[in-house]
């Protein structure tokens, strides 16, 4: 894109210049002299090579002139940025990190990896919503505060490890921590997405109490119970000791509790028994939680004239040195 393309009309003068310099019969700069004395050998330099080098110099000269004219027209690259005018939804994803999440009843690896992948895809579908991440097992920890910096969010999501926070399922702590970090949010809609496969068995805060606090802060809670009741193979590595645990695991989540929390806070409860259903659960939440987006396109231009000027300078200097030094042109 050019800031003032009008200058490009100067390019029309280039063919005129080429004509005058190279083809006009009346052009100067030529001095007729006896090239050889009749019937003897004159000096006969390798004409072809010289002509080729001369042609190269001429081409570079004219390319330089074209670049100079282009620079005059103000070349710029244009960058369009979508700027959101309204506030999106604030979301806090609360993910169970307990050892039972290693159960291998979710293809291709286990529940935890499936949940991680699904959340990642969910984040990539959202725009303009601040999303945060809390993980919990025996205790709960804030991994990322609600942010639109999705790059950082996905990085932290990838760093999560099973059993980083001990063995246990402190659902209440997870919700409480999520609610705490949504407290200072000014978003019109605030949402917690809780993903667990176990029964609350740790932490100082009861899930019901935490849910009540969250509701008072205007937060809706979506609860997702995952996993099957049947016995499943389990394998995970303790991040502290590096020891690998293998075995079987049986036991499900507290469906009643999850239903109650969701209903109480105005959210919804979902059950996901397989990878596919988990994906569709997140798609459902994605479509429920949409706010109208008002967007303005902000255009930024970045001037690119420097590279053209450098090219023109280099081309003309090249032409100069070729003609003067190599070809020994006198003028």
């Amino acid at each position: 894109m050019f800031e003032s393309p009008g200058y490009l009309f100067l390019l029309l003068f280039v063919p005129v210049g080429i004509y005058f310099r190279h083809f006009w019969p009346g052009r100067g700069g030529k001095l007729p002299f006896a090239f050889r004395i009749w019937n003897t050998r004159g000096f006969n330099p390798s004409f072809f090579v010289r002509r080729a080098v001369f042609a190269l110099a001429v081409v570079s000269f004219w390319l330089g002139v074209v670049a100079l004219i282009a620079a005059l027209a103000g070349p710029a690259t244009v960058d369009r940025e979508r700027v959101y005018l309204n506030r999106g939804t604030d979301m806090m994803v609360i993910l169970d990190e307990s050892p039972s999440m290693a159960a291998e009843d979710f293809a291709p690896v286990n529940r935890f990896e499936t949940a991680r992948d699904t959340i990642r895809r969910f984040v990539e579908r959202r725009e303009n919503d601040s999303i945060g991440l809390v993980s919990f097992s025996k205790e709960a920890a804030l991994r990322v505060p609600p942010t639109t910096d999705y790059e950082k969010l996905v990085d932290s999501l990838d760093e999560l490890q099973i059993m980083n926070l001990g063995d246990g399922t402190a659902i209440g702590m997870g919700i409480a921590l999520g609610a705490l970090h949504l407290r200072s949010s000014s978003a019109p809609e605030k949402v917690i997405i809780l993903l667990t496969d176990g029964k609350n068995n740790a932490g100082e805060v009861l899930p019901e109490t935490a849910a009540r606090v969250a509701t008072e802060l205007g937060i809706r809670i979506y609860t997702i119970g995952i996993g099957s009741e049947s016995e499943t193979r389990i394998e995970f590595e303790n991040p502290e000791t590096g020891q690998v645990y293998r075995g079987t695991f049986e036991g499900g989540f507290d469906e009643e509790l999850l239903q109650e929390i969701a209903e109480f806070s105005g959210g919804a409860y979902f059950y996901a028994g397989t990878s596919g259903t988990l994906e569709s659960v997140f798609e459902a939440i994605d479509s429920i939680e949409t706010v109208e987006k008002r967007v303005r396109i902000e255009v930024r231009t970045e001037s690119q004239h420097r590279i053209l000027i450098i090219f023109a300078l280099a081309a003309l200097l090249f032409d100069f040195f070729i003609r003067k030094l190599l070809l020994r042109e006198v003028l």
Binding site: L10, G17, F20, R21, W24, G26, R27, G28, G29, L31, F33, V65, L68, I69, A71, L72, G74, E81, R82, V83, Y84, L85, D90, E127, N128, S130, G132, L142, V144, P145, P146, T147, T148, D149, Y150, K152, L153, L180, H181, L182, R183, S184, S185, S186, R296, E298, R300, S303, H305, R306, I309, I310, A312, L313, L316, L317, K324, R328, V330, L331
Partner: protein
Amino acid sequence: MSIEYPQVLWFLLGLIPLAALQLYHYRRGRRDLSQLAGDRREAVLTVYSVKWFFSSLFFSLFCAFSILALAGFSWGQESVEESRGGLDVVLAVDVSKSMRATDDEDESRIARAQEIARGLVQELPSTRFGIVVFSGSALRSVPMTEDRTSVESFLSALRTDVMSADGSNLETGLDSAFSAFPQGSGRNRVIVLLSDGEQHSGNPLRPAEVARESGVPVFTVTVGSQSGSTIPLSEGGRLNDQDGNVVLSRADPDTMQEIAETSGAKAFHGAQREVFSPLLGEIRGFESRREREGFRLVAVRRYRLFVGAALIVVALNLLVRVFRWKGVI
């Protein structure tokens, strides 16, 4: 008037060897011509001298104008429409070892920086904050968020040992701070750089320039004294260099001043209570000014003037060479 790349002007010195070359070439040309011209020698040489003079002059002028165009002169200002609401602040905090120095005060430099950062978080209520820490490398510790709880808890837990990389590189710190603004937020953007300004590598003026072009002021707060201070180690004692001499760390407010000015902001240096309220005032003033005016001023680049002049002298150079001197040859 300001010059974006003043170092380019050194290339103007290249005109001297160019002129010498042209002169040498002129003498050789004269010699060759006088051998060839025969009877018309006098006339030919006069024409040659005149033509040589003008063509060389115009070629040198072309080089000069191109270099001037590249130097990036700008004067005057024009307004660019920019309606943004709200404020995003990135706190770029130096956590290099020198920030442990106390400068004979009660608190270390990092504690003073923390204090100022915490004050900003408390006094700017509807603002989003992000935190970048840096020493030899940089890390986006807290992404841009409205969640004050996590910003404040990160700030109060801030230590100099959060980064393992040695050294102090303001350039990477600023680059990282600039990239911590999420895309498409539509808010005003400010960077607050908290450091002693002492640096071992990097050119912080480059990112400051980038920030200025995007309308992001970099307010700098220098902590520490210029007279220097020893650096206490966490395991006791003081930091020594390889030869066993005690390392003295001196704050460098001049570098910090340059960064702030390049980006179009202000620099602060001094005791915490002297620095804090003017800094807060500047940030608030910046936000309300942008919101009220809905535009920002950018310097007008004047490279076109020089490119145009360069083009004209190239055309003149061509004319001199192409047209005949009537009646001589």
